[in-house]
């Protein structure tokens, strides 16, 4: 779960990392009032869950409250990467003598957390690593020990810091790691970490991403006013929202991971790696998918039925392909029942509708019996996923 900058900063403040003086506002009037109270030049920063707001005009500086209000008006009318700006953070403006980078994430290859520091802050870390790889310092950290002071010092030194300030930065690195560990983060980043002209180190920006799988053990987020939610890289379509509702009917099986596409072949496909393979196979043979929809973990007949109905009702659908891998625990017969029930409830004759079924594994004999009874064309394990996808594509292009 990605946190907003202001949420990340709430956590920073609680854990003792210095942040600029600032407040959250949801209207230009509020911005003016805050600027008035701060009695300083201010930075107004759009609060959105996407990167690149700086370039999109989402961060502006104002000399006085009146200007702050004007600029806030501008920011509130922006739409950045599809996100509306609903809140802005109004902070005292900082005057950096240098901008630094500090981050913690997991190195999937080393299977450990790694800390990253750089003397080049304020730019996207991927850009730094592309252009100036020598300016990036990385250090693996042992999860059980946590970050030690000497490691913090190493990170600080590699930001180009010396003496007193080096120790201050080391201290921030250790605190950032503690946040990373304590809150089960996927990513904890300060970019930029600003060294002010009077020798203070302040986290000008803050970016925390919490691991979805660990949210269950973070009841403290509620007290910090951080609501638990689901990240979505794009706004879900109505079709996708419907599918999610269907998945929530009961807790058996994963059957709600649905993505809408604009093709004409409806898909109900085996879960996990199989779904990836099947979707590729359909495309490889020139098929145009109307959707991606996984079924796995042995879902209920009702779930399969509702998802099938949703897909069959989608405008422009020319046929349906139900393709799974050789199943380990999802039952072929239950999937077959769901698909047929959907057709019957929609007044579709299963033996006339273009539908192709390829499945095998648990309870395949029962499944095939059912399919035969309703005249549905099916393929068993003698036909690969690949052949099944080809047959399905040919079926609707006739």
């Amino acid at each position: 779960m990605k946190l907003y900058e202001y949420e990340s900063k709430t956590i920073f403040k609680k854990e003792g990392i210095l942040i600029p003086d600032g407040y959250l506002a949801s209207s230009p009037e509020e911005v003016e009032k805050i600027a008035n109270n701060l009695k300083k030049e201010v930075a107004i920063k759009a609060q959105i869950l996407a990167t690149g707001r700086g370039k999109a005009g989402g961060i502006l500086f104002a000399k006085n409250p009146k200007e702050a209000k004007q600029l806030a008006n501008k920011i509130f009318s922006l739409k950045i990467k599809g996100f509306e700006v609903e809140k802005v953070l109004v902070e005292e403006r900082l005057y950096p003598s240098s901008e630094l980078f500090l981050g913690i994430t997991y190195d999937l290859s080393q299977k450990k957390p790694v800390a990253i520091s750089s003397s080049l802050g304020g730019i996207d870390i991927n850009e730094i690593s592309r252009k100036y790889p020598e300016k990036i310092f990385t250090l693996p950290i042992n999860m059980a020990w946590g970050m030690q002071n000497y490691q913090g010092k190493l990170l600080a030194k590699n930001m180009g810091l010396k003496s007193k300030i080096m120790f201050k930065a080391a201290n921030i690195a250790v605190k950032l790691f503690n946040i990373f560990s304590k809150y089960d983060c996927d990513l904890a980043e300060i970019n930029p970490l600003i060294l002010t002209q009077d020798g203070e180190l302040i986290a000008a920006d803050a970016h925390l991403e919490l691991e979805q799988e660990a949210l269950y053990r973070h009841k403290e987020l509620e007290q910090l006013n951080i609501p638990i939610r689901k990240d979505s890289p794009r706004i879900p379509t109505e079709f996708e929202i419907e599918a999610e509702k269907i998945d929530k009917i009961d807790h058996r099986g994963v059957a709600g991971r649905v993505v809408e596409f604009d093709g004409d072949l409806g898909l109900l496909i085996g879960g996990g790696g199989a779904s990836l393979t099947i979707f590729d196979a359909v495309r490889y043979h020139g098929g145009k998918a109307a959707n991606y929809c996984e079924i796995g973990g042995n879902p209920t007949v009702k779930k399969v039925k509702e998802l099938t109905k949703l897909i069959l009702k989608k405008p422009g659908i020319k046929g349906l392909a139900v393709i799974t891998n050789v199943l380990n625990n999802t039952r072929v017969d239950l999937v077959a029942r769901g698909v047929i029930l959907a057709m019957v409830e929609l007044d579709i004759n299963p033996s006339e509708y273009p539908v192709l079924f390829r499945s095998a594994g648990a309870y395949e004999e029962d499944g095939y019996k059912i399919l035969r009874k309703y005249g549905i064309k099916y393929l068993n394990r003698d036909y690969s996923i690949d052949q099944a996808a080809k047959t399905a594509v040919e079926m609707i292009s006739k």
Binding site: S109, D184, R257, G271, G272, N328, N329
Partner: protein, 298 residues
């Protein structure tokens, strides 16, 4: 031969009284796997499919010499269960549980490394050495397992449990058997990855060809490719990458928690390139995969 598990494997099931664990315990026994005990804290003294249940892992190790454990407990208890197994000197731990927080996974792997314990998973469907032994839910019920898997020369390692069985079944249909098939787990961080399994397959005289089922996201494929180059790997490796379409949809997850392309990293395209550089054949379709395997065995 085979790798990781064989006739000598003595299996302990952690969380044996759970719905899924009790089911696959039955399937393991049906496959003649030596399941010697189960652990569910507080339920010591019961039996599941005639397997005795204990409160602690050390009881089973001391009394029966368990050397392999399959962990199937709710995510919040997984760290404790796995650490208990490592501490009790279990040599191979297969973690079936999915959705375990990364921090817990890293702690398990660190401790396992110290004690020289091998870890497969989390989110692994299991391991099977056809004709000898299976650990976990891999293959499903007995008659399905027998239809899908047969003894032979191909080693399979896969990020997807379902595709492990699918590929085995496809090979079996073509009269090509398998040495050992491993579902390495679909999570972003897992114990043994392709890179760590390749050397085991290389040493195994039964294995002649290795098939890898891969997905976008993570770095397993790139790491394996590097290993193959650096160690002049001696056996043919054939890869199939599911989910090439994911490259076009950055930031979105498909299939498994680990399958995500972010900031241009973890793309299927990048993996294909890395493999090709390492001389690994990458099949575009499953049909082609079978052809490549046949050629390699000639």
């Amino acid at each position: 031969m085979s790798i990781l598990i064989d006739e000598k494997t003595k299996v302990l099931v952690q969380g044996i009284t759970g719905r899924e664990a009790s089911l696959f315990t039955k399937y393991m026994i049906d496959y003649d796997t030596n399941v010697i005990g189960g652990v569910t804290p507080g339920k010591g003294g019961q039996t599941v499919h005639r397997v005795p249940v204990f409160d602690c892992v050390s009881d089973v190790v001391k009394n029966f010499g368990a050397n392999t454990s399959i962990v199937s407990v709710p995510p919040r208890f997984a760290k404790d269960a796995a650490l208990e197994a490592v501490d009790a000197n279990i040599k191979l731990i297969v973690i079936f549980t999915e959705r375990i927080p990364k921090k817990d996974v890293v702690l398990i792997l660190d401790f396992a490394e110290q004690k020289n314990t091998k870890v497969i998973g989390p989110n692994s469907l299991g391991i099977i050495s056809p004709g000898k032994c299976k650990v976990g839910a891999i293959g499903g019920p007995q008659n399905e397992t027998k239809k899908s898997y047969m003894i032979g020369p191909v080693g399979i390692a896969s990020t997807s449990g379902g595709m492990t069985t699918e590929i085995a079944s496809l090979l079996t249909n073509n009269q090509i058997g398998q040495s050992t098939c491993i579902s390495v787990g679909g999570d972003p961080i897992v114990g043994m990855t392709f890179r760590e399994l390749l050397p085991l397959f290389e040493k195994d005289i039964q294995t002649k060809t290795i098939v890898l089922f891969c997905e976008p996201g993570g770095t397993q494929e790139e790491d394996a490719a590097r290993y193959i180059i650096e160690h002049s790997y001696s056996k043919p490796v054939i890869a199939f990458i599911g989910g090439r379409f994911v490259d076009e949809m950055p930031g979105m997850r498909f299939g498994h928690a680990g399958v995500i392309v972010q900031k241009g990293k973890g793309t299927a395209k990048g993996k294909v390139e890395a493999f090709k550089k390492a001389g690994v054949l990458v099949a575009d379709t499953l049909t082609q995969l079978v052809d490549y395997v046949k050629d390699s065995l000639r």
